[in-house]
């Protein structure tokens, strides 16, 4: 099994770098994965990542892109409530890349 090393502690990941045990996640781990993904984390990024984690806590899955854009728009301002904004933040796709940084499992299937 692959792993990453953050702050002297080792975290188990899958082949693609998704955290195996999501309870182990902390912001330092998020920052580390983001760096690997070449995403420069700003407050805007953290708004999304934190929302993803909250949603996951409740529903055991990441939100649909549409649910995410709507929620971000409502919470942080209408100008942020569109998928282009999310793609600009997470170029590899908000669903997969943002989930990875948030320590959530990868959405599977035809997505």
């Amino acid at each position: 099994m692959a792993s990453i090393e953050v702050g002297g502690k080792s975290y188990e990941t899958d082949e693609e770098g998704y955290l195996v045990n999501l309870a182990e996640w902390n912001p330092d781990v998020g920052n580390y994965i983001a760096k690997e993904e070449k995403v420069d984390m700003t407050d805007n990024h953290w708004e999304v990542v934190n929302f993803l984690r909250e949603y996951y806590d409740e529903y055991q899955i990441a939100p649909a892109v549409r649910v995410l854009t709507k929620a971000i728009g409502k919470k942080f301002g209408a100008e942020k409530g569109n998928s282009q904004y999310l793609y600009d933040l997470f170029p590899y796709g908000p669903a997969k890349q943002a989930c990875k940084i948030a320590g959530l499992p990868k959405p599977t299937g035809c997505v």
Binding site: E15, I61, P63, A64, K70, P105, T108, G109, V111
Partner: protein, 511 residues
């Protein structure tokens, strides 16, 4: 992650490309781990002792040869005429000669000849037979995971050899000896555990659907429902779970709901069968194919529906149209008690199952829907035929209905429609490059290369007619194109669903 992957150049003259032997030998998808394998009834991993694996492969191959006569015919019949060689999108895009359909077949044919034919047993070298080694098995894993089972090559084969069936057999053999592919097998596990490929639990589905009701109300002022688990509804809609989650898929889901609303026909989704996709077909495993399909029957019986309609999903429509009859009793053929119960429950005045495009087109023809075509005027539209719909199913009452009905819908709801060039559409359509269980990130290089012929055809109509929207009726196609279009210099939103266009133009409430 993806930044190293670039699109191959368009071919100036689309002829057989120069060969690059071995160029894709390193394309190897992640192997399913023991937990994923065992969860769906396969051995966790390869045996430590090669001889044991060797014998198991040959035994499984013998079993499949005796069970599927087609497989034996396909392995026997090829005369190496070469008609298929330049018909595969993966060969065109990768230039690796092992991606020629005939060469892909030969990976198995050479083993078949060695162990199952007399000349191959006596004079292997003379007849292209070879011993099964670990290297051969690894080669199978790599190159059978470079076939999307799209069946384009079979259209051109004078004997009708179906490479997809050989690929499916190879995947079945690999799974049976503990050498499974992660993407497909993890997903199959999720279908059984959670109800869909995505792993979307019931409460999340409910939340998503409620959100969609709010959105549509906001957009149109009309209460369009997205019902879930409603007993006694007329129609059960079985659709890919990506429709609940991804862009642009969700826009087609909104389209289905608006059509049902306008039709006045009561309908429901099911949280138990919240997935149309059936990856059991991709891995060539009959037991999984059936087990996944049985969820649909269970949901239909429980909800007491009269009709089953299938959403925009290519391979699901193949499974539904071609196999649901004998698998679960939607259509004639199965004769176990539950199949008979379902037969008696369903209203046989309607097609069972029915594709959502058939449902919509039928209503259009009867004057039941009206549209504001100008709402789609910003789009100049072309249609990408999805392989499993095009080459493995049908719609409507006339041959070729699977080609005409989606096009007829588009022409009804929009003013600007342009065809891509002839040998890239209808039964000769090119795969999107992501079908058959290959829609996974680690195969992105293969997916980008495999999309080349489709991107060439799209570029042509973009240049000549300003096409800016490619409609399709498959969740895999939508996800694949969303990913690869930008790598070819297009906007990712160029791809979308047929019912997304329906949704844009349909008039609700003021017919």
């Amino acid at each position: 992650m993806a930044d190293a992957i670039t699109a191959p150049p368009y071919r100036i003259i689309p002829i057989i490309p120069a060969l690059k032997p071995g160029s894709m030998a390193g394309s190897i998808p992640y192997i399913a781990n023991e937990k994923m394998q065992e969860a769906i009834g396969f051995p966790g991993k390869l045996a430590d002792n090669w001889q044991e694996t060797h014998d198991a492969v040959i035994a499984k191959m013998g079993e499949l040869l005796s069970k599927y006569r087609s497989l034996k015919v396909y392995l026997d019949a090829c005369v190496h005429c070469g008609a298929c060689s330049d018909k595969c999108h993966y060969f065109i895009g990768t230039q690796d000669p092992k991606n020629m359909p005939v060469a892909r077949q030969d990976l198995m044919r050479s083993i078949y000849r060695r162990y199952f034919t007399l000349p191959g047993k006596l004079f292997p070298k003379l007849v292209g037979a070879r011993d099964l080694t670990r290297e051969v098995l690894d080669e199978w894993y790599s190159y059978y995971n470079q076939c999307s089972e799209c069946r384009r090559c079979s259209v051109f084969c004078p004997y009708g050899i179906d490479t997809a069936e050989i690929t499916m057999a190879a995947k079945e053999i690999l799974d049976s000896v503990g050498y499974g592919q992660k993407y497909s097998n993890e997903i199959i596990g999720k279908v059984h555990k959670i109800g869909n490929n995505l792993g979307l639990p019931g409460p999340a589905l409910e939340n998503t659907l409620e959100g969609l009701e709010e959105d549509v109300k906001e957009d149109t002022g009309i209460d369009v429902r997205f019902p879930l688990d409603v007993k006694g509804a007329e129609v059960l809609l079985i659709t890919p779970s990506a429709d609940f989650f991804a862009e642009p898929h969700i826009d087609s889901l909104i389209g289905y709901a608006k059509v049902f609303h306008a039709s006045g026909v009561s309908w429901t989704l099911s949280s138990m069968a919240s997935e149309a996709g059936n990856f059991g077909m991709f891995i060539g495993n009959y037991e999984q194919l059936r087990k996944i399909a049985l969820r649909v029957r269970e949901a239909a019986l429980e909800l007491g529906v009269k009709r089953i309609v299938v959403g925009e999903c290519g391979h699901a429509w193949r499974v539904a149209y071609s196999f649901w009859n004998t698998l679960i009793g939607v259509g004639a053929g199965a004769n176990d008690p539950y199949a008979i119960q379902l037969q008696n429950q369903l209203d046989l005045r309607y097609k069972q199952p029915m594709h959502i495009c058939e449902f919509t087109w039928d209503l259009i023809q009867r004057g039941g829907l009206s549209f504001d075509k100008e709402a789609n005027d910003k789009h100049i539209i072309t249609f990408h035929d999805s392989c499993n719909v095009a080459r493995a199913s049908r719609m409507g009452d006339l041959p070729g209905g699977q080609f005409e009905i989606p096009r007829n819908i588009i022409k009804t709801v929009a003013n600007n429609f342009v065809e891509m060039r002839d040998n890239t559409t209808r039964e000769k359509t090119f795969c999107c490059g992501g079908g058959g269980g290959l829609l996974t990130d680690e195969l992105l290089d293969l997916r980008v290369k495999g999309a080349l012929p489709r991107m060439e055809a799209l570029q042509q109509v973009t240049d000549s007619h300003g096409v800016n929207f490619m409609a399709t009726i498959c969740a895999i196609c939508k996800a694949q194109f969303t990913k690869v279009l930008p790598i070819y210099g297009f906007d990712r939103r160029v791809v979308g669903g047929v019912h997304q266009l329906v949704s844009n133009a349909i008039k609700l409430g003021d017919k």
